[in-house]
Each structure stands twice: as C-alpha cells, then as structure tokens.
C-alpha cells in the first residue's frame, strides 16, 4: 500500500511540475478517543474561493500524509474518515513552503435519531407510507427557497449543512417531479427552487418506492423527499398573418392566433384565397394543435394517423378557386393532465370554376375509337365540421376517451359538357350536349367511447370501444342531354333526355370492439379481439322524366331503384407476437362473418347474402443494428363486392356510359406481399430505403364492357377475373450534404402488372410498366445560399392483347431547379423552375408539356425579423395547366383542367410570439 501511495504521489508530482510556485503540506491523522493513527483517511485540498478540489491524497499506515506541488494560495484542507466527523481548516500555502499541519485528531460521530411526531392538519395527507404536504398551506416569506419551505414542514428538519431529516430518518434522496437532482445547471440546487413553485412535498421510504418501481432494493434505508412542482402557469400568445394581392382580382390572406393560459389553449384562424384552397398546411396544423394521433397497431407497430383528408385540400383541387376557411380550437388539460379536452370547429367554403377536357382512346380488337369530352363546371363546396375529444385518466391504469364529430356538407355543381364519340378514322358516331345541375347534402355524426384498462401485470391490456354513427344523404339533380347519332357522317337520329334524379340515403351504424393483449412470456404476447357491427341503411334512387306540364313526374323505372339494407358482422382476430431487441414477428388471422339482408322495395324481393371474410397476416422484422431494418409482410384480404356491384342497378348519369350491377359476383381475395428495407448511417449521413410489394388478387372484380360501335353506347358490368397481378418497387439512396457540402439523393419508382377485362365479349390482357429515375443534388450554405438540381426521366409502356400493334409507350422527363440567395439588407431571392415534358402519343393532339417558373424576392424587417414583404411571380411563362395521363386496361386518356397560371403578388407577412422564453421567429 505504501508503495502504491508513494507511486501515486510520484505521479501527482510529475503531473504538476508545470506549476512554477508550489508548496507542500503534511501532517498525521489520529483518532481522538483511541489515540490511534488513522490510515487511508482522505485529505483534500480545496480552493478557498470556490471549494474546487485541487489535490487529494490518503494517509499511509502510520496515518501520515503529504501533499506536494500544490500551487501557492488560500485553501481549505479537509480530512475525512468514515464514521468520523470531518475536519476542516483554512491554510495559506506560501511558495516553496512545506506547511506542517501537525496532528489532526478526528472524533467519531454520534448519530442521534429523534422521532418526530407528525401533527395532522388539513395540509398533510398520509397515503400508505407516503406523507404529502400541500405547499401553499405553509407560509414562507416572499422569495423563499425550497429549503426554507422544508424547514417549515412538521417532521422535517434541515441542518446548517443543508442535510434533511424526515420523521427521524435522514433523507438520502431529494427528487423533483420524481426525478433525481435538478435541471441543467449543477449550481441550481434545492436552494434555488422558489418555494412558491412547489405544489406538494411528498415524503416516503426510499426502499419501498424503489421496490415499487423496479422490484430491486437499493440497500439504502432512509426517506425520500419528492418535490412536486406546480403545473405551468405560463401565459402567452403567438400568431401570424399574411396578406397578398395583385391589386386586381387575386387575394391570398391568412391569420392565425393562439393564446395559452396555463394548460388552456385557444386558437382561431381564418383564410381567404384565390390561388389555393386555403386549407392549413401541416406546420400550421401542428401549431394550432389539430389532432394528429400517434397510434399503435398490434402488428405494424407505431404509425401516424393524420386527420382524415377531405376535398378541401390542394391535391384534389380542379379549376380556379375562390376559397374561405375559418375555425377555432379549444384545448384544456386539468387535474395533472388527467382530464384532457380538445374541441374544434371548422368551416370551409370552396368555389371553383373549371374548363377542362378528357380525351380517351378506347382499344377494341383490331380497331380503336375515341371519346372526347369538353366541360365547363362551376362548383361550390361548403362544410361545417365540429369535433370533440374528452379523455379522462382515472388512474395510472384506467382511462376513458370519448370522441365525437359532426359534419354537414353541401356540394353544388353545374356543368355543361360536350362529348363526342369517334371511330378509328375520327368520323363521328355520336355527339352530345349535357347540362347538369346537382346539389348534394350530407349530414354525418360519429361518436366513439373507448375504455382502456391496464393491469398490474406489465403489457396486459384491455380496450373496449363502442361506436355509433349516422349518415344522412340527399341529392337532387337535373340532367338535360341531347345526343345525335351519326351514320356516314350524317345525323341519323337524335335522343333528348330531360330527367330529374332524386337520391335519398341514410345509414346508422352501431359497433363495438373488445381487444385484449396478454403477455405470455417476456417476448411472446397474444392479442385477441372481437367486434360486432350492425348497420341499417336505406337507399332511394329515383329518376323522373319531364312530363308535358313541365314537371318531373314520370318515374323512369329502368333507372330507379329503392332498397333497404341491413348488415350484421361478427369478427375476431387472434395474433401471436414475438418481440425482442432484434427480431419482431407477428402472425395470426382475422375471421368475420357478414350477413347482408337486402330488401328491394320496387320488386318486394328479399335477398340475403352471407360472406365469410378471412384476413390472415404475418410479419417479420429484423433489426441488424440500430437504424438498419428489414421487414417482410404478408396480408390476405377478402374483397367483398359492394351492394352497388351486386344489385341490378342501372346508372345513366352519363347516358352513353351505363353501369349495370351483377348479382352473380363472387367474393374475391387479395394476397399482398411486401418487403421493406432501410438503413441510415448517422455519422456519414448516408441512407437507403427500399420497398417491394406484390399483389395477387383471386376473383378480382373487373369490367365486362359492351360497346355498340354503331351508336357509341357502352354498358359496363362488374365480373370476376383471375390472373391479375401488380407490383411496385420503390427505392431511395441519399447522402445529406450538411454545410457547404454537396448532398445528393437518387430515387426510383417502378410499377407494373397485368390486368384483365372483357371488351365486347373478348378477353383483353393489358400489361403495363411505369418507371422513373430521379436524381437530386443539393448544395447549401445555411442562411446564405442554396442550389438544388433534380433531373427526372421516366418510361411507360402498355400493351393490350386485343390490339397488339397499338403503341402507347412513351418517355417523360423533367425535373426541378431551385435556387436561393441571401443579399445584404435582409433581402432574399428565390427562384424555382419545374419541367414536365412527355413524349406525345399518337392518340392525342395538343402539347402536354409545361415548364413552370416561379420567382420571388423578399425582405425581412423589424428588429426580430418578424415582418417580411414579398414580391412573388408565379408561372412566369404562363404554361400552368392541369394534366393527367392514364393508361388503363383498354383505354388511354388525357385529362386537362384549369389551374391558376401566371400571376404577380405583393405579400406582407407578420408573426409574433409572446411566449415566455420564446426565441425570435426563425428566418
């Protein structure tokens, strides 16, 4: 041991020779009572100014110590020995001096434990072995710390060293909100938390608490003090607003305001736009606190469920918009977040004006035909939506959740359509003009109550839910169609139809589901669920012809049908799961029986359909290392025909394209296989994602088309086919550049397959492959400049067995260039250009290419950059059109529609943030 200490001192000496002016200190440590030298006592030299540990050593077998090469200065020398009181003395070490401390005599500690009687008052509660003090009941002076508060609590004593004794036992743990120690700064200690921030002080036995949490005793026996802080009583608000106009016909404006008072939050927003639907983007929704639930699926794991989408998003927008939205949210959490309320209201109003066309090439055996449609529509969609959610966590194991939503929608549409049907030589077979006015109203109410129970056994869980929903539909429309049929380029006959369609439908659903998960071992778990659903619906669809008196009174029975449908289903799922750190596997199956009772009111015929549905599923996932996963999934799904497909209903909204149901449809089944692989290297910032999926449908529902080439009238009927296949491959390889480095990403998407249908009694097999390859290069200097270049190339092929000579293969290419540069005076320049070019198909005239060039210049102002003014130029080349190309089993079609094209806007944006501790808004 002596050797060791000598060695240690030597090392210390070597390590500290750099000090120029050093001193030494030596002495001997003894026990006062026994006059015995104490070896292994710790001797520490602390800097007097801040008690930083400068040097330390231990005494040798004779109780002697020597600390050499200590920088000269003022110190506190402290000598400690287990179970003895500490010795501390101030010493001044002068350069080159060897200070002799002489003999340090330590005294054994006498530990006195005094039992303290706890006086029971209203401010103290005793739960089991926990004593809880309500902080506000104990008056402390303004600016008092937690330590001052603890001194005031009965049964607690705090000595001059800051040591706490509770109910006669020393407190060896102080927790804040259940966590040991404190915030980020070590200088912040018990002394630094303000007493008024404290809600409750809890005192309990350290041992039992630890055992509760981990089942493992720490071997310590003492008291734990847990300081529960008061819930946030912060107040604040943030919001933003912008207004943009071209000083003529376009306005784009938005305002958001959020206010917090503690856990209460109120948000309101409104938008008006002539360039988009005005619906809130993801970021705004996040800020507002619009519910995006994080869900856990027993098989798939975690996934995000975003609020259900509706027709008020920019994706499905067709035509030029005139949109308004308004809404509000109120969120409140109370009782330690055990009660949670979230309510919202939203109003959308979207008017659109659209001029569009759909050009279709139909593939027949040995010939093709063309169907061209040109339409002008004006539409107005309105919606009022109210949602509410209330959660109540009764305790750590039991919770209830009630969600409710009500929606009222009204869609008004009027359209003028000109359509023509041409033969292979593009000679007319028929043409028609249709005027349509239609109003649809829907009222929908959905309520769900969920009860969740956890158990003392970890991961055992019971969830029961009850759902009740009502839908009410009303539709009224007038369709006026004038059709000319040609023979040898001359009008042969004319058909005029003037009809009113009145549809009424309603549906009531009552459902319940119980899910139980039971851990079998630490790695195996069983999940069982059972669900019952009952649905009663009514569908009345009637078509009336105009009578002589000008009223729509004469029922057209061919295009009318009325029925009641009752559906009952019982379903159950059993899934066995295996989870460990690397491997996750789950397999099982769902089974359900569905009974449909159909009552055809027109024919008084009752039909009962029984379906058996199986949903086998299996998934295996393997984590090779963190951030590298491979998974394989199989999912089998029964596909039951819809009641519209089964019923001999005729729909003649488009008189030349009539749908007819097929009561002989069989239940289909789909096998889906998919493989997913991902890997990401955090440090080199490279990653790869890949996904392959393959579908094999059995008894897939396809169409049997009957086209009368002489009139151009088509009837299509659903039929079962076998032999369809489709696949999809997607992969992405990328490297993030980070600062001043080039980042790149390559991704490719390909899909293909085989579809079977029937054209005029002949089986037609279409094989198709669509593929593209994208590259993206990005160079960025944060807050200075960014350049992105992303070229794209794609190839599409489609062959039809009916007409093998027909070529509908084409290339498409394009991409995107984006650049941003920051100029002095907080001016920012942005420009992007998107190219969308495709090879022209023989089938169609007109240029499908477009190049959209946008640019903007903006300047930030105000001290905190919270204001910004923009000059925006959109679609400088005025080429923006809506365009879709579809290549399907036996037709190819190009769809064009209006889109907002060139415009210039002046935009002003302002945001504010009055949150405590908020930083200035980004950029």
């Amino acid at each position: 041991m002596r050797k060791l200490i000598a060695g240690f001192i030597l090392v210390l000496a070597i390590a500290t020779t750099s000090y120029s002016q050093t001193a030494s200190i030596k002495g001997t440590v003894t026990d006062t009572a026994e006059k015995k030298n104490l070896s292994n006592s710790v001797v520490t030299l602390l800097r007097k100014s801040d008690s930083v540990l400068v040097k330390f050593t231990r005494t040798n077998l004779k109780g002697e110590f020597e600390i050499t090469d200590a920088p000269a200065g003022s110190y506190l020398i402290m000598v400690t020995y287990p179970k003895f009181a500490d010795f501390a003395e101030e010493v001044d070490l002068k350069p080159s001096e060897t200070f002799n401390l002489g003999t340090v005599a330590l005294t054994e500690k006498a530990v006195l434990l005094k039992e303290v009687i706890v006086h029971s008052t209203g401010a103290i509660r005793i739960k089991g072995d926990t004593t809880e003090f309500v902080a506000d009941s104990f008056k402390v002076k303004e600016g008092a710390t937690v330590e001052d508060l603890l001194k005031r609590l009965p049964g607690l004593t705090v000595n001059s060293k800051g040591e706490i004794t509770a109910q006669g036992k020393r407190v060896d743990k102080v927790l804040v909100d259940g966590e040991e120690f404190f915030g980020d700064d070590p200088t912040m200690a018990t002394q630094n938390i303000a007493a008024r921030a404290v809600d409750k002080v809890q005192v309990y036995d350290t041992k039992s608490e630890q055992q509760n949490l981990t089942g493992i005793s720490t071997g310590t026996e003492g008291k734990t003090v847990n300081i529960k802080l008061k819930e946030d009583s912060k107040k604040g608000a943030f919001g933003k607003a912008h207004f943009a106009t071209n000083a003529k016909d376009l306005i784009d404006a938005k305002a958001l305001y959020n206010r917090f008072v503690g856990k209460k939050k109120l948000s309101v927003y409104g938008t008006k736009s002539d360039i988009s639907t005005g619906s809130l983007n993801w970021e705004d929704r996040q800020k507002l606190g619009v519910e995006n639930d994080f869900e856990y699926d027993e098989i798939g794991g975690y996934y995000f469920s975003f609020g259900s989408s509706d027709e008020f998003n920019d994706w499905s927008l067709r035509g030029l918009p005139d949109a308004y939205t308004a809404g509000g949210l109120f969120i409140n959490k109370w009782n330690g977040e055990k009660n949670n309320l979230n309510t919202s209201y939203r109003y959308n109003r979207l008017g659109t004006v659209n001029v569009g066309s759909t050009l279709t090439q139909n593939i027949l055996s040995n010939s093709v035909t063309y169907r061209n449609k040109y339409l002008n529509t004006t539409g107005l969609n309105q919606q009022h939506a109210v949602t509410g959610k209330y959660e109540w966590k009764v305790d750590s194991l039991t919770s209830f959740k009630l969600t409710t939503s009500g929606i009222y929608k009204k869609n008004q549409l009027s359209s003028d359509t000109y359509s023509e049907f041409l033969d292979e030589m593009r000679q007319p077979i028929n043409n028609s003009v249709q005027n349509r006015d239609n109003t649809t109203e829907r009222t929908q109410l959905d309520n769900q109550l969920t009860y969740k129970q956890l158990f003392k056994k970890k991961n055992r869980q019971l969830i029961a839910s009850l759902r009740f929903g009502i839908i009410d539909d009303d539709q009224k429309g007038i369709i006026l169609t004038n059709t000319n049929f040609y023979k040898n380029n001359v009008v042969d006959s004319t058909e005029i139809a003037d009809q009113q369609k009145i549809f009424q439908g309603s549906s009531k659903t009552l459902g319940s589901k119980v899910t139980f998960s039971e851990p079998l071992t630490s790695k195996w778990a069983l999940v069982i669920d059972y669900a019952f659903n009952q649905n009663a619906s009514i569908s009345h669809r009637n078509t009336y012809n105009k009578s002589i008196n000008g009223k729509y009174e004469n029922l057209d029975p061919l295009f009318s049908n009325n029925f009641d449908l009752d559906a009952f289903s019982h379903s159950s799922t059993v899934v066995l799961k295996y989870t460990d750190k690397k491997l996750r596997a789950a397999f099982g199956s769902g089974i359900s029986t569905i009974k449909l009772k159909l009552f055809n009111i027109d024919s008084s015929l009752r039909t009962t359909y029984n379906f058996l549905k199986l949903t086998p599923q299996a998934s295996i996932g393997y984590t090779f290392k963190p951030q590298t996963n491979l998974s394989f999934n199989y999912r089998g799904t029964t596909r039951q025909p819809t009641i519209e497909q089964l019923q001999p209903i005729r729909d003649n909204t488009d008189r030349l394209n009539v749908f007819e149901g097929n009561p002989n449809l069989k239940v289909g089944f789909n096998h889906n296989f998919s493989i997913f692989f991902n890997t990401y290297k955090m440090l080199s910032q490279k990653g790869f994602f890949g996904n392959i999926s393959y579908n094999i449908p059995v008894n897939a529902i396809s169409f049997y088309n009957l086209l009368d080439v002489t009139t151009g009238k088509q009837v299509y009927t659903p039929v079962n086919v076998n032999g369809n296949r489709n696949w999809n491959v997607w992969m992405n390889y990328f490297k993030d550049g980070g600062e001043k480095k080039l980042g790149y990403s390559m991704y490719s998407n390909a899909s293909g397959g085989r579809n079977i249908n029937f054209v005029n009694g002949k089986r037609n097999t279409t094989k198709y492959v669509n593929s593209d390859l994208n590259l993206s290069l990005r160079y960025s200097v944060p807050d200075k400049k960014t350049l992105e270049i992303g070229p794209r190339i794609g190839y599409n092929t489609s062959t039809s067995s009916l007409n093998k000579d027909l070529n509908s293969n084409y290339w498409n290419y394009g991409g995107r260039i984006y650049g941003m540069i920051m100029l002095p005076y907080k001016i920012e320049l942005n420009s992007s250009c998107e190219f969308d070019l495709r090879q022209q198909l023989n089938a169609f005239q007109g240029n499908p290419n477009k190049t959209i060039w946008n640019a903007s210049v903006s300047k930030k102002f105000f001290k905190d950059n919270s204001g910004r003014i923009y000059f925006i130029a959109n679609d400088l080349l005025n080429q923006n059109i809506g365009f879709n190309r579809t290549i399907n089993s036996n037709f190819i079609s190009e769809d064009r529609y209006s889109k907002i094209s060139r415009y210039f806007l002046l935009k002003f944006e302002w945001s504010f943030n009055k949150m405590p501790g908020a930083t200035t808004p980004k950029k």
Binding site: S41, T80, P82, D172, E179, N459, R584, M682
Partner: protein, 246 residues
C-alpha cells in the same frame, strides 16, 4: 461459565469489528443506470413530445458492472434489463466498455456510436470538482457529494465513498478521492447508482483493455467528428454528444 465466557469474547470481538473501518482496494460494483426518459425526450423532441408521450416510459433501467482495483478497472454492460417491446425509447451508449489505467492515467474506451465503433484512447477525463457538504448512503456506503464540470459546460453530480480506494466511477467519470457510487448527469436526466458492492473474491481477469475493434480516436477528434453531424440536430444533437463524451 465457559459458554458465557465465549459469548463475551465473541461480543467483544464483533464489537471490535464494528468499530473498525474497512477500506477496500478491489471491488466489483453493479451500477443501475436510470434514464428519466420523459423529461429527456421532452427536451430532445420538444415539438413531437406531446404526440408520443404516453408511450415514453417514465424510467428506463440498464445495468453495468465495474470491476477494478487501484491500478486498473473496467466498466462494461452488466446483466440484461427486461425489455419492453412497447416502449418508445431508443437506448443510447448502453454498450460502452471503459478501461481505465490509474497508473498511466489513461482511458481506453470502446464506444459504439450509431454505425461506427470508436476506440477512444486518451488521458483521464478532466473534471473540475467541487465538494459539497452533503452525504448520502449508497449500497451501504456513506458517500460524499461532489459537483463536477466537464469542459466548462457539462455539469455532473457524484457521490463517492472514502471506503473504496479506487478513484473511478461509471463511464469515464472519476478523479475523486474515493469510488463514485452515485452519479447524475442532469442534462441527460440520467443517474448511475450502485446497487451492489462485492469486495471479496474478485476475479480481476476480465479487467483488460477492450478488444482493439473500433476506429482509433482521441476524445477530441471523436467529439469533433460527432459535432460536425449532430450540430444540425438541435437539442437532440447536443444531448447525444454529451452521451458519447462521458
């Protein structure tokens, strides 16, 4: 009479034993690492936390073994903690192996960091310690409190005991007069508390430097490399660097 005499002798003997303090130079200590995941994730993923907070476990426990004497020691993963498949928590720095040579004042640490495994070879971690007048009993040992600062920025709180002569502790934290039996890094909402100390029959054979597998770096070059990537990750990145530094 004889029996009584033996009894008295035994009593005296035991009381003597009681009074005498033992110092230990060779120990095996089991540390329980507890991450208070909710508080940590609340700070790391401010925007997202509310969405997944119910899935974040309040605490995540793992175990490490410290074996060593006054010359050398090793800190390495210990017994497996039960794994909860449902918990939304990614373990970080749970496979570190830290070998400390107290004579040459060198540390050799094998640290898996994302896809890379670093082999850090450097001097002992420099920590500025302040002693605080507070004590606590951990695993039956009376410990003194010390507050340390690494790199003038990262605060740690340690409880060390005079009764164990090793100047070590969990991970690379050490440099106090005795063995650290309790450690907290507030910024990581993480504590390491000794749950058992074994002082007899210690097998020192496992106390060897970790296998040479890994990219040889110094502490500074590793942190430099991590900072380049992690500084783009905000609060998450900052905390991760601390995780790998200690």
């Amino acid at each position: 009479m004889k029996k009584i005499f033996i009894c008295i002798a035994l009593l005296i003997f035991f009381s003597q034993l009681q009074a005498q303090t033992n110092f230990f130079g060779t120990v095996k200590i089991e540390f329980q690492k507890t991450v208070y995941a909710r508080q940590l994730y609340k700070e790391m993923f401010q925007q997202w936390y509310d969405m997944f907070k119910d899935r974040v476990p309040a605490q995540v426990v793992s175990y490490f073994d410290f074996i060593g004497d006054t010359a050398k020691s090793i800190f390495k993963p210990g017994k497996e903690a039960p794994f909860d498949p449902k918990s939304f928590y990614n373990a970080v720095a749970d496979k570190n192996v830290v070998y400390t040579d107290y004579k040459s004042q060198k540390i050799t640490a094998q640290k898996p960091v994302y896809e890379e495994t670093f082999l850090v070879e450097d001097s002992l971690l420099k920590i500025k310690w302040k002693l605080v007048p507070d004590t606590r009993v951990i695993a039956g040992y009376e410990c003194r409190k010390a507050v340390g600062i690494i790199d003038d920025s990262i605060g740690v709180i340690a409880f060390y005991t005079d009764e164990i002569l090793i100047k070590g502790g969990p991970e690379s934290i050490g440099g106090l007069p005795g063995m650290i039996l309790g450690l907290s890094v507030p910024r990581l909402h993480t504590t390491w508390i000794a749950t058992g100390v074994q002082v007899n029959g210690i097998n020192m054979n496992p106390v060897t430097p970790p296998s040479s597998k890994g990219k040889k770096v110094t502490r500074g070059s590793m942190v430099g490399q991590l900072e380049k990537v992690l500084k783009n990750w905000g609060a998450y990145g900052q905390k991760m660097i601390v995780n790998f530094l200690i």
